[in-house]
Subunit: 374 residues, 2 copies
């Protein structure tokens, strides 16, 4: 297929595969798509090792990274910044999270990692250090999932010949991103997993296409098969940005407990909830959300306080769920879009990529038949 | 174009136009689409007159009706049924609605109609009387917007050779409708106006297509232009069921105050709220919703009590808004989907129909170019 995206990135299929697992990124790229590593949860050393590994796997084929880069950094010592944020978490919230862990009898995992995603994102030692690592590798695209990218990122990317992409959930976002110099807009509909707005992909995509001018627009949210990919192209997108579908891939690093819950879920089983990060993010609905919504439960805190409040608890829940712990399996959840209802088996990420591209092309050919003269 | 829907209904374009204005229904049908009258708010005499008028306008071309037919009727005297429902409305709710009218200084309209949509829907004199009227006219399709149609409706439609359609918001609904004998399933995504679920059209449509077998599936929600129509067909739909787009048509009977608010709205300005009927329904967000969500406001009642609570208040608000009353214009709202953000002018409904069909065909032809050999 040829679209503005395949031309810009030099790929065979206009399919971007966004995932935190280096093996998924490499598999999507090697199948003719374009893998993007969700890198914000990694330390600079981890990211360096992973990008080196991906580069070895893909043999010169292009891939990208996605970071949470705030438009402004908070000045000061990272440790004291994080400490001052922690001090803003009410003790009643800490007690509520502890009471949840107690109620579901969640054991303390000895393997809790001390790396805070919050610290990595907001402090000068965090995102810029990850950016330095990213630009040492032959990345072809850098995406920012946290609002408008700062001018320093855009100018550095332009110098390096790296495409800048950014996620938008409404028309105003797109206008800001275009003014900031973004090359590719990702129109992310409400049905997407993770942080997402309220406007559906069907409505948002053509709206963003109409203000993007010559910039390629990718559709994100609700896309996990060839029919949905063909629909995205019909809406005017130059390609698709898929996140959730890789959670049903063999290469994905999610624990098996999560993959099992995803395979059993329907499209009605997700919820857009602020209880995990402090901003509405779509995820699998479980007992975790019932508890937060029960009468007497505290209101979720704003980002980044809610994320800081719960990130260690989630490490304990994930570890216990993976070990088959009954209470942890009730709470266990992860970010995923409404397409989770279509997951029927776990397949190699390369096969998912090729199948989506083939089915899309077949569907487009079938559509041609609808308008053929009788 | 040829799809399973155009074959089934004998129409030129697979576009269903759903609206409460007889002139919109006739215009869509006369433009080669298929008009469906939203008839539940009418009395039997009104419906009879309107269907006669439509039949005259369309000169044998097909059209349909949509009713709210409950799967079971409540036995007993209609007047006493309505009275007993009214008695269940807490006085604090009545006082809150009155306080809203007072706060916004809404004048009492002398033209309030005594016909209750609730009474028409739930009582034996209501929906069955409307059904009797509908079947006296040459309707080609009957749709039920209120869950599974009762067996009496299905058998009567089959005898008369009338197609039965039904709206579904999740897979379980579709399974029930298929078991009840429905011929056409309308997969209605969360972005649609009116009563709607949480699953987006992009995800819901292929899911319903996969369980519908040979039955045509129409996509509803998020469809107001040719790109969105092409996307719906790409998802596997045999056509589109459009509601909101006609609210931007010349023939629509909405007051000008509402049309003006729609023209100014963005796709982010709708809300799925239970405050108008008691069930979540997407509508334009206004001061009405702010007031219901303010601290200390009562929780909305269930359907049909909430509808009974507010239906007269809305007649006063609509009348005052139409007269340019400042307070009423702040509250003024109506059911509409997220496509409201795309309304840029008021056009004839026939032009909207033809333009959507032409743009869809052109978009499908363009998609073919993406897969053409280089």
């Amino acid at each position: 297929m040829r679209t503005a995206l395949t031309e810009l990135l030099g790929v065979e299929h206009p399919i971007v595969g966004f995932n935190r697992s280096p093996a998924v990124v490499a598999a999507v790229t090697n199948a003719g798509g374009f893998g993007v590593l969700a890198a914000s949860a990694y330390s600079p050393a981890e990211l360096d090792a992973q990008l080196s590994w991906i580069s070895e796997q893909v043999d010169g084929k292009p891939y990208g990274v996605d970071l949470l880069v705030p438009s402004k950094f908070v000045a000061g010592d990272p440790d004291s910044l994080v400490a001052s944020l922690r001090a803003q978490i009410p003790s009643s919230h800490l007690a509520f999270v502890q009471s949840l862990l107690d109620k579901y009898d969640i054991p303390v995992s000895p393997s809790v990692v001390d790396h805070s995603e919050v610290a990595a994102a907001i402090t000068p030692n965090g995102a810029p250090a990850l950016l330095d690592v990213a630009f040492k590798h032959p990345i072809a695209l850098i995406a920012n999932a946290l609002g408008t990218p700062p001018p320093s990122l855009v100018s550095r990317a332009k110098e390096a010949g790296v495409v800048v992409a950014s996620l938008v959930g409404k028309a105003q976002h797109a206008e800001r991103q275009i003014a900031a110099g973004v090359d590719v807009l990702v129109a992310q509909g409400t049905e997407a997993g993770g942080h997402t707005g309220t406007i559906a992909t069907m409505v948002l995509t053509p709206e963003i296409v109409d203000i993007a001018g010559d910039r390629p627009v990718l559709a994100a949210g609700g896309i996990a098969d060839g029919r949905q990919m063909a629909a995205a192209l019909a809406l005017g997108a130059a390609g698709v940005w898929c996140g959730s579908v890789w959670l049903s891939s063999e290469e994905d690093i999610a624990v098996q407990a999560i993959k099992d819950k995803f395979l059993a879920a329907t499209s009605a089983d997700t919820v857009r909830s602020p209880t995990r990060t402090g901003k509405p993010a779509r995820q699998l609905r479980t007992a975790w959300h019932d508890e937060w919504e029960a009468p007497g439960s505290p209101q979720p805190l704003p980002l980044p306080l809610q994320l800081m409040l719960v990130e260690e608890a989630w490490q304990h829940i994930d570890a216990a769920a993976q070990a088959g712990h009954e209470g942890a399996l009730k709470l266990e959840s992860f970010f995923v879009g409404q397409v989770v209802g279509s997951f029927s088996d776990v397949r190699p990420a390369g096969e998912i990529t090729r199948r989506m591209a083939e089915d899309c092309q077949r569907r487009i050919a079938e559509l041609g038949g609808l308008i053929a003269p009788a």
